[in-house]
Subunit: 293 residues, 2 copies
């Protein structure tokens, strides 16, 4: 018996639902009009190739942490990560990479002590509300394709720590991190919201990080350098040749298509489900992102 | 520079905080009185040993899915899983094991078509409320050491799908699964709540599942049997000899100690944090469980 379909979003991509059925979230994605998609600028795509062949693609978020993101772009252009590695894998927490304890000099254009870009101003953001309650902030929703939390009253907004969120390692405050040491959350880590600079999210290849061996030292650091996972190269898509350049697009979270998708993510009625929740967690919505054809 | 401490619960275990500081969640755990802990019955511990040496320990939840749990106990006693394997690993979703498409006969004592134990009655449960809003249910909190969601008005309660939650694979409804095919959530999957029988949670060795290679077929199934991760044995702790028998205990979620822990998980002020959230997600509380000394 091949038990347990346990349908996931990915599953439903296999085939279109019969016509008489209500659409699934993935029916919405596959049927979305071109107008529902926005291309990610090539300068905002950070492409990390592991020496083992695995590729991880990160979308940067300059609207939320402009100085840290500019640093990361300068680090990529300056080839700062040559010889870098993934040196930490803490289960249910983070994968982290960079040079760890080296004192490699910063390339040109890096602001060594950036401001604490842990939140940004609420004003100026067009927000699609989540429509479900959030444990970490008065408000939660989406803006410019990103899952965010916010307080309209207090005037702040922040990128939410969901699966795949990328942030900047820092030491204890007042250090704010420079950008050389990055982590990807391999679990929702909302308690880190507003405590660290979030600079983007992994949009492709996340399993190349999440399936790495867990480090056995405190905090998931690998015990010795032989266990490090070497990085072959980190570059911006804008640095790639025309033939190899990557392009991705995300669903416009202000579009009617996204509103439909969001509603269906909160009210699942794919064949597998017998009881829609009537709500959805911010991190479980998963804004659609795809390679550009 | 060894940047990014990114303190986690595990981190704080390294050393006790200086006396003048407020306690951290882990200070509460390490200082908890014996009265705050409850031992898990040996019949409720399912011990899965992978052929690669990795051990996964699961606490069963007979108060929430009694027929399915009785099935699992009968399957362990009947050595049903001899020759079984982990055959599915879907990133950010589930690890799944059993015999997949075999028709191995059920051992004695198995109810082949159990009832749909997807919720249980709200009445009769002593509940410690989460104290933060939940996206999936009118109420969320803890009962008997478990994270639960509930509707007092509608009269139901269910075990929540958090990282490590174990459930029973099933085909499309009205199938309810028997218990031979099990999965562990490698991410919070709250949208599955009330749609499937939850039978327990991994309390030790979760990284032995979460770090396995992701399957490349639809739904994360491994492409061929050579990729399967063989299981050496699945047994109850009560079947183990006195010398090797495992014992675990969980923090009593009705205890004042747990109330302190819960408050501090929602209001982190470990050295790393500069902005406590003032709230916490049900799945991010992580009820303390430990090996019994």
């Amino acid at each position: 018996m091949r038990s347990l379909l346990l349908m996931s979003a990915a599953a439903v991509l296999i085939g279109a639902a019969p016509a008489q059925k209500l659409p699934t979230p993935n029916d919405i994605v596959t049927g979305a009009p071109a107008s529902a998609w926005k291309e990610i600028p090539a300068d905002d795509l950070l492409v990390m190739d592991l020496a083992n062949g695995g590729r991880i693609v990160i979308q940067l978020a300059p609207d939320f942490a402009p100085v840290h993101v500019a640093n990361i772009q300068a680090l990529a252009r300056g080839n700062y990560w040559q010889g870098a590695a993934v040196y930490r894998l803490q289960d249910n927490y983070v994968a982290q990479w960079g040079h760890n304890d080296s004192d490699k000099p910063w390339p040109a254009g890096v602001t060594v002590k950036p401001p604490a870009e842990y939140t940004r101003a609420y004003s100026g953001l067009a927000i699609t509300p989540l429509g479900s309650p959030d444990a970490y902030a008065p408000g939660a929703g989406f803006s410019g394709g990103w899952p965010i939390a916010y307080s309209e009253k207090a005037g702040w907004a922040n990128l939410a720590h969901c699966y795949g969120t990328v942030g900047v390692g820092r030491d204890l405050s007042p250090d704010t991190g420079t950008g050389g040491e990055l982590y990807a959350a391999i679990a929702p880590l909302r308690h880190l919201d507003r405590n660290i600079a979030v600079v983007g999210r992994v949009i492709d290849g996340m399993s190349n990080l999440s399936s790495l061996p867990r480090g056995t030292e405190a905090l998931g650091f690998y015990k010795n350098k032989a266990q490090y996972v070497p990085i072959a190269r980190i570059q911006l898509a804008s640095q790639m040749s025309a033939g190899e350049r990557l392009a991705y697009e995300y669903m416009d979270t202000a579009s009617p298509t996204f509103a439909q998708y969001l509603h269906l993510r909160a009210n699942r009625h794919d064949d597998f489900y017998i009881q829609p929740a009537g709500g959805v967690d911010l991190c479980n919505v998963q804004v659609p992102v795809r390679k550009k054809a």
